[in-house]
């Protein structure tokens, strides 16, 4: 469904991604793990067209998207929940969700998805008239994921959904991620620092170091890998 082929991305003169190749099949959960500054977020930003790659190819359903504008990429069905959640603080919860559905025109479908989200996260229904900035960190993460779901993405990119959240909330969020994947067959590309958690949810994983993919395997194999254990699982 998504394929990165030898992608090189730069911030000015600084190279952030070096020959990154990743492929994601339809319906899969894959995770990209690695230390701070390894290039995980840049990978997502390259896919979304916010930081376009200088060379290499990104194919979505067989179609090259590396030169497309971010809004057109969203139109294809790729939506990202960025690191730090980036809730619109002065928009209400409902307006934030509206913005998720910005590209959609099917009113009844939007309504149905909204109802689905409110069953997924009842707390958001309670707070629907509240400004986004007044929510707690966990609620904001729920809102950020819900906002992306409102776009009804075929591929959902999640950047560090566990960041700064209490363990209990993290559990809940990961359960929902599984549920989203299972229920609507949404393909999920998960970037995480919490490698242990991420590999338990994902089917396959990629390990990134200094802008390069250094390992790619099934989650079970990576969880048992000595290097991965030492470097990322704290064992």
């Amino acid at each position: 469904m998504l394929e990165l082929r030898a992608v090189n991305t730069y911030y000015g003169p600084i190279q952030a991604l070096r020959d990154v190749s990743i492929s994601v099949a339809e319906g899969e959960i894959i995770t990209l793990i690695g230390a701070n500054g390894a290039g995980k977020t840049t990978t997502l930003m390259s896919i979304c067209g916010v930081v376009p790659p200088r060379s290499g190819e990104i194919l979505f359903q067989g179609r090259p998207i590396q030169r497309m504008a971010p809004n057109n990429i969203v139109g294809l069905g790729i939506c990202q929940v960025p690191e730090g959640r980036l809730i619109f603080p002065d928009l209400t919860v409902l307006e934030n969700l509206d913005m998720g559905a910005f590209m959609r025109k099917d009113k009844s479908g939007i309504k149905a998805d909204l109802d689905y989200i409110f069953t997924l996260f009842p707390i958001l229904a309670q707070r629907r008239r509240q400004q986004g900035g007044t929510l707690s960190g966990g609620e904001q993460q729920m809102l950020a994921i819900s906002r992306a779901l409102m776009a009804r993405p075929r591929l959902l990119l999640l950047d560090e959904p566990s960041l700064g959240l209490a363990p209990l909330i993290v559990q809940q969020i990961f359960q929902i991620i599984r549920q989203i994947n299972a229920k609507s067959n949404t393909t999920i590309f998960l970037v995480e620092q919490n490698a242990n958690l991420a590999l338990k949810v994902a089917h396959r994983g990629y390990v990134m170091e200094n802008g390069r993919v250094v390992k790619a395997d099934t989650s079970a194999t990576l969880l048992a890998d000595e290097d991965v254990k030492k470097a990322y699982l704290g064992m």
């Binding site: 971010p70 809004n71 969203v74 939506c79 960025p82 980036l86 619109f88 002065d90 590209m103 906002r147």
Partner: protein, 312 residues
């Protein structure tokens, strides 16, 4: 007592025009964090567009109110075009540059537009026809509220209510607010940020054009330089209300308009209580800019703006 009321209304009229222009400053600042110093020139060009339309239609036999409406619409369309072009030519190429660069570009744009109108027209004040007819029903109170006062108040109120509804309720209005709050996120949700920026310049410029045509018809004369002072005052109003805040710009304009009449009001007040202190009306500009200095010192976020907190 009636004199004070008269001064209050006169202040509100001028303030309403400031508000219309200030909205352009504040909306553009909200989206791209740029003080568009060429915005006053857009207001001036709006007034000149009105003049051209009035000149063309003057002999057509249309009722003056009809000419006014056409002049307003023509000014809005024309200025919206100017605003969008200005953004594309002078600001968009500098979007990734340091913040000083687009500011300098804005000042350059302002000088360019002034001189362009100076060459195309003349440096003298040119008379502007009265496009607002005298309303008979206002005669008993016309010393308080003339017909052009009424039209300015009504039109600017309607425009501001309309803008508020647009920003609050429509899909594009919400997209504008979202883009102002977090441009990167707006992009990630599929909002075409360039389009939103163009729309912002379009709306801001159209509002300035309304102000330009109305005030020109009210004061009866215009020249190429009227945008300079009006622009500075409107900028002051935007800062006073809280730059980036739309209700702030509206309130700031009105407060500034009334505050500018303080010299007259105070002089009259002193005379009433038997003191012989006369403050010349020429101090009105000084009052406006003192207000700007005070607000920058004591409440830099403005009346309705929120303090700038950078989240980590």
């Amino acid at each position: 007592m009636e004199f004070y009321l008269e001064m209050l209304i006169a202040g509100l009229i001028r303030g309403a025009i400031y508000s219309l222009i200030a909205l352009g400053y504040t909306m553009v600042y909200g989206i791209i964090e740029l003080i568009n110093f060429a915005h006053g020139e857009i207001y001036m060009i709006g007034a000149f567009t009105g003049l051209v339309v009035a000149g063309l239609l003057g002999a057509s036999g249309l009722p003056t109110l009809g000419i006014l409406v056409i002049a307003l619409v023509a000014g809005m369309v024309f200025c919206a075009g100017y605003g969008v072009t200005m953004e594309k030519v002078a600001y968009k190429p500098l979007r990734k540059a340091s913040r000083l660069s687009p500011l300098i570009s804005a000042i350059g744009m302002s000088i360019f537009l002034q001189n362009y109108v100076l060459l195309a027209q003349t440096s003298d004040f040119v008379p502007f026809p009265r496009l607002i007819p005298e309303f008979k029903f206002l005669e008993p109170i016309s010393h308080l509220l003339g017909s052009s006062d009424l039209v300015i108040l009504v039109v600017s109120s309607l425009v501001m209510v309309g803008l508020t509804l647009f920003i609050r309720l429509t899909r594009l209005g919400k997209a504008m607010r979202a883009t102002a709050q977090n441009q990167k996120m707006a992009m990630l949700l599929g909002i075409d940020v360039n389009q939103v920026i163009s729309l912002t310049f379009m709306i801001g410029s159209a509002l300035a054009a309304i102000g330009g045509v109305l005030i020109a018809s009210h004061s009866g004369q215009i020249n190429f330089y009227i945008g300079f002072l009006a622009g500075l005052k409107a900028f002051t109003a935007a800062v006073l209300g809280g730059i980036g805040s739309i209700p702030g710009a509206m309130l700031g304009g009105l407060v500034l308009g009334v505050a500018e009449n303080l010299p007259i009001i105070l002089s009259a007040f002193f005379a009433d209580i038997g003191l012989n202190i006369d403050i010349p009306n020429d101090y009105k500009d000084a009052v406006a800019f003192c207000l700007l200095i005070l607000i920058l010192i004591f409440r830099p976020s403005g009346l309705l703006g929120r303090p700038a907190i950078k989240k980590v």
